[in-house]
Assembly symmetry: C2
Homo-oligomer: 207 residues x 2
């Protein structure tokens, strides 16, 4: 019996491409037998540490570039049938609170449910997820304990956990999200999921 290959997913709710990648990962995992380890990070922290910025900032003045990025998003959605996706009307959303609460959810053993509820709120339902009252309502409606999760965002260990995850991602080479690590091999962007799958198969065969 071989040990399954694990994909580390450097993740933040802030990134629509993280949502889109997450939605197609289950098929990749089913095809390959790989596992995924979602690592909550703060995209703003990665940008600050690497001097990077969102495409809308970097390419805001480049004729045609953001229109093309939008076209590639629509193509990805069409190819994978991700019809629930909606651009968040409050974009860009400050994700500090929901990223910290994701770390807390991991410590409480509810990270999977938390991730599904918050991803849907951000990228399907258009909720303003930098407003704590909205977050509380969304979490409660999703069967989670909004009060406890929001309180935990002030826990120094939770705050430090998010910082540590973010710093570790940058130390491994990440400069944006979604980033995937298969062992030491890094892949950036939803366009590279095919390469992620190839690398999983390569490492599976070598195990």
């Amino acid at each position: 019996m071989t040990k399954p290959v694990t994909i580390d997913f450097i993740f933040d709710f802030a990134s629509p491409n993280a949502y889109l990648s997450w939605k197609v990962l289950p098929e990749l995992l089913a095809r390959t037998g790989a596992c995924v380890n979602v690592i909550p990070c703060l995209l703003g922290g990665i940008f600050k540490a690497t001097n990077n910025a969102a495409p809308m900032v970097t390419f805001g003045d480049v004729k045609g570039k953001l229109a093309y990025e939008g076209l590639e998003t629509r193509r990805f959605i069409a190819r994978h049938g991700l019809t629930a996706y909606r651009m968040n009307p409050h974009f860009p959303v400050n994700t500090l609170t929901i990223a910290r609460a994701f770390v807390a959810a991991g410590r409480m053993g509810v990270s999977e449910a938390y991730m599904e509820v918050v991803l849907a709120a951000m990228w399907e339902q258009g909720e303003k997820m930098d407003d704590p009252e909205v977050v509380r309502r969304v979490l409660d409606a999703g069967g989670l304990n909004g009060e406890a999760l929001l309180a935990a965002t002030q826990d120094p260990e939770v705050k430090a956990g998010l910082v540590a995850n973010t710093e570790a991602a940058v130390a491994r080479g990440a400069f944006g999200i979604p980033t995937f690590f298969v062992g030491d091999e890094m892949f950036f962007g939803k366009e590279r999921l095919g390469q992620v799958e190839d690398e999983v198969r390569r490492q599976s065969a070598a195990a």
Copy 2:
């Protein structure tokens, strides 16, 4: 009998990714029955018209980004066995003269031979292809008429042809190179050749 689908390749010798894409296109064409129409453009002109810049400029200060681009280049080379590729030691090379001469080569009916000789000089042999004497030597050694091709770069119609190609590419939505058009569908970057192939098959089936 269906009409073969044509891929318009917005091209300049300045782009290593244009070289790398060109080297894998023959397999794509053989698999699909498509044709390719290489359109000589000036990457610097596209950048100026769209306010874009080379990755080494845009991402020069972003920690890890250019290292990752280099990794993706090495992966592409390994995957396709493109062992002849060498980064040009004079990079970035001003390609105005060799782009104009490419337009002239088309008018003289020698564009295929010209493209192979100049691509090899730029991305395999490390020649300084913004030096007219080097260009002349390379073309002559490749069995082309260096004297005539260099003289033609001063022909107003050749100059205007390169400008017109570049402006038309920008008008269609291009902001960089390599860019591929399959009908009205635009794809940017060597990472998208899989999508180019999918679109060729879609249009072939619909024809």
